[in-house]
């Protein structure tokens, strides 16, 4: 005997809720995402050179940074006072050669303190020249001016 098969019914899969699901996922990702906002300052530190003619000139003002002291032009300043002095110097209006500041650091100065000084200089349009700390043989630690006093300005 031949058995008559029932014709198959074509069933539509209900995909309406897929959209809801996907949009819920999007909303979840948007709300849980923490956008990374990096804040900082852009500086160009020139590579060190053995060329004597490239070494920083004595004319450039030097900022001597110690663990608790900051000296600029024979004056001991706080970081706030240093910012005021930089503002008064109006570095942005000066030619590049007159915007160079040499930063001289004691070996034990923390990055926190160094950062305050560097960002203040970059913010006011100064050009940074690095003074490298070196081990000076028998006499212990010292500082030696190494890189040329040219470089990019801070942003």
């Amino acid at each position: 005997m031949r058995i008559a098969r029932k014709p198959r019914e074509f069933r539509d899969v209900d995909v309406t809720s897929f959209a809801d699901l996907a949009f819920l996922l999007i909303i979840f990702f948007i709300l849980t995402t923490t956008f990374s906002k990096s804040m900082g300052v852009s500086v160009m530190i020139p590579a060190s050179s053995q060329d004597e003619s490239q070494k920083p000139n004595e004319e450039y003002p030097t900022v001597a940074v110690g663990p608790d002291t900051l000296q600029f032009r024979d004056e001991t300043l706080t970081i706030e006072a240093f910012r005021e002095v930089l503002k008064k110097m109006n570095l942005k209006a000066r030619p590049e050669s007159e915007r160079v500041l040499i930063v001289e650091c004691a070996p034990e100065v923390t990055y926190d303190r160094y950062y305050q000084v560097v960002t203040a200089i970059a913010h006011e349009g100064g050009i940074l020249a690095l003074v490298e700390s070196v081990e000076s043989g028998e006499s212990g630690k010292g500082v030696e001016a190494v890189p040329p006093a040219t470089g990019g300005k801070g942003s």
Partner: protein, 135 residues
Amino acid sequence: MKIRRPRRRQPLVPLTSFGDIAFQLIIFFVLASVFMKESHIRSRPPPSPDIDLLEPALVSVVLDEDGRLWVQGEECAFDALEPVVSSLLGERKDRRVYLKMDRARPYREFSRVLAALAQSEAELVLIGEKAGSAQ
């Protein structure tokens, strides 16, 4: 005469493509996201009022609170920093390198990082946090 009104049809909005659009959006966001490679590194950036928001850079160097050095999320020796960063920068025009250093590291340590990056002709982006923001 009785006018026969046409039977109102229930309007049917096809929603099938909505799902496609939503998934396309998800795929776009997933592909366009830059995932943090340095979430495992502990480093407290120094605060300063003189900093601004910056565009992201391709190369990132971190000096963590234990004095260990990381490049692109992987630990790196101090002596290897300059060649590693130089090879990452290659001949690129954009030579910006994100430099995130712990606020407590001493100059004798972080100056080595600065000197090595200066040798690789990188433009340094010194990362900090806006003074007064949550730490």
